[in-house]
């Protein structure tokens, strides 16, 4: 399309783009600015300070890193989310392999059932899950949370991986099987290495689902402070009146910025619609 738009149209287009870019970026920028402001001066009444760093201190970061258990929370979140991702990926790969490579009765029903289950928000079975975890002695422990997250991201991972395995031609595996491989061996030796990018993307997205969760983490591991995960811990930090908001901002920047970078790195996967089938609430 080589239609050159008129100047008026161009100006309008850029006006829209710039306006929405400010809209998109400002809240993140605001968090960064607030993290460098002295904690007790949450609001600067100097309007300019709301947009550019008129003052900057690393005091909030120092307090968060060395005087508050932020690193412990961060580590807890990393551990729980990673463990859940690994379990979920192993279980999902095994199911996705069977669903992609074998034709059996009830296969389609099973897939649709999985999808229907995944649309229910976990909060609606939270009471029952909490009771179950109490019974097996895992309530208030990270392991219980790992179990909840593993099943939480299981359906998403299974559908995503199955979709990708379907795109890998089966001929390669059949050739290997002629040479004497079993179906499982052929799959792990040939299809799995080919699916490495899809596995990575699925893993990262599953990780993010657990990483950003608030509901399960706040109900299933409510206390003590050293066991909390980063997101609910920062939430209660922001809501306690006695704590300067700058501390929260510094902690939030530590959590938000890496998350943003991961998503920006994955942008083209979102744009290719690879994950449309697994959009999560």
């Amino acid at each position: 399309m080589n239609r050159k738009p008129r100047t008026g149209v161009r100006i309008l287009q850029y006006a829209i783009l710039i306006l929405f870019t400010i809209f998109a970026f400002y809240p993140v920028w605001f968090a960064i600015l607030a993290s460098g402001r002295l904690g007790d001066r949450l609001y600067t009444l100097n309007l300019l300070g709301m947009f550019i760093p008129t003052e900057w201190t690393f005091e909030n970061y120092r307090v968060m890193l060395f005087e508050r258990p932020f690193l412990t929370w961060f580590k807890n979140s990393l551990l729980v989310a990673s463990a859940a991702t690994v379990f979920s990926l192993i279980v999902a790969t095994s199911a996705a392999f069977a669903l992609s490579r074998f034709r059996f009765r009830g296969r389609e029903t099973f897939l649709v059932l999985l999808l229907a289950l995944s649309t229910f928000p976990g909060i609606l079975s939270l009471v029952a899950i909490a009771q179950l975890l109490t019974a097996i002695g895992l309530y208030g422990k990270h392991v219980g949370l790992v179990l909840a997250y593993t099943t939480g991201s299981l359906v998403f991972c299974t559908w995503n991986l199955k979709g990708y395995f379907d795109t890998i031609p089966i001929d390669l595996e059949e050739a290997a099987m002629l040479d004497g491989c079993g179906p499982v061996e052929a799959f792990t030796l040939i299809a799995l290495p080919l699916a490495r990018p899809a596995l990575a993307v699925t893993a990262i997205l599953a990780f993010m689902g657990s990483w950003g969760d608030f509901i399960f983490a706040s109900v299933l591991v409510p206390a003590p402070d050293r066991l909390k995960l980063a997101v609910p811990a920062l939430y209660s930090l922001a809501n306690s009146i006695s704590v300067p908001w700058g501390y929260f901002a510094a902690g939030a920047v530590f959590v938000i910025i890496p998350t943003l970078l991961v998503y920006l790195a994955l942008q083209r996967y979102f744009e290719s619609g690879l994950t449309l089938g697994g959009v999560k609430g």
């Binding site: 829209i16 870019t21 605001f30 609606l124 019974a135 099943t151 939430y235 943003l260």
Partner: protein, 406 residues
Amino acid sequence: MSVWSGKKRALTVLLFLLPTIIAILIFNIYPTILNIYISFTNRNKFRPNPDCEVGLTGVLDPLCWPAFKDKAPVGLGDPYRLADPLLKNYGDLLGTLFTAESLISLVKVLVCFVPLLVANWLNKRFSKEATPPISSTWIWIIAVILCVFLGLIVNFGNSLNTLMETGDFIVVVFRTILFVLVRVPLTFLIGLILALVLNSSNLPGRTFFRVMLFIPWGASAVAILMSLVWQFMFREQGTINQLLLALFNIKGQVWLNKPASAFGAIVLADIWFSYPFFMVSILGALQSIPTELYEAADVDGASWFQQLMNITLPLIRPAVLPAIVLTSITAFQMFGTAYAITGGGPQLAADKPGATEFVMVYAYRIIYSVQNYGRATAFAVMIFIMLFLATLWSLRVTKLTKGANA
């Protein structure tokens, strides 16, 4: 792939699916059943423990199973029992819905939407005919006029007020649907505008804008933290009020203390989180439209608006419809934005849900703060049913399950 056959093959398939099936059974199916059972009991923070002799408790509550019996906390008040009457939790939530007055109001409210359904049905019928007797735009306009007219006849506002007096369930669900109806079209519009601009030819800086405009999608992964940041924009000394003061010399208000502006604040913040999804989906659909169509339209002298209505929108429809349906269901389940920004407030009256207490916020508050598990699970069961129907319908509309046949 049929190297193996018969029993060995069936066993292999089962073996590979087994971990998933077990996980789903333990963490999805069983909690749902237990959930339904608890909804018929009076379990709450004062009665957390089971009485294994009562009803099905001994079978369903894991604390009654021999293996876990020693885990049951003891000495914490009375054990929970079946609710008296059995449907008490549901009754509490629905309130006075089943009185003649409320039911008539419900019918009145629903009647007002009948013209829209008729319009939809007519359009579907006419779309198969080559020369429809009346254009679809006119059908919709007439339908909307009829809706307003009917609303005036049955006194829509009054009936709605009667319904809102019935109980928490109607209030919360109605507010949530209102939220979806406001949020989704606005998000779609913004996504469409941005996608159209980003798709225009030789646009210097396109990549930069695409990356910047994508940021909120990433932020939505940690929605609750980002929403706390948003909350500070709306405070008395927040960015919005400071800007209003500096630019227009208007003294802003405390946005989150008034029901309408608190609702608006949540809509604005949630639009921020969700427009990139539409932008990306529409952009993808736009790029698959062959440019020859526009060139032909140019030759015919069609205006930009005519091209938008007759080429662009019809052609992106198949890709965008699933996105709209999915977003509506996601918006219905929105939690973080409202919980972090208003916490469900502002409170209008004691013992009533706050002005922005949407479905998930209500559920969370009943579990976490009120700790009335019986009522929370009854609420969950009703939402389950609603969501299940919506999901079945959406799976049909979006054809997402087509992957199942692949």
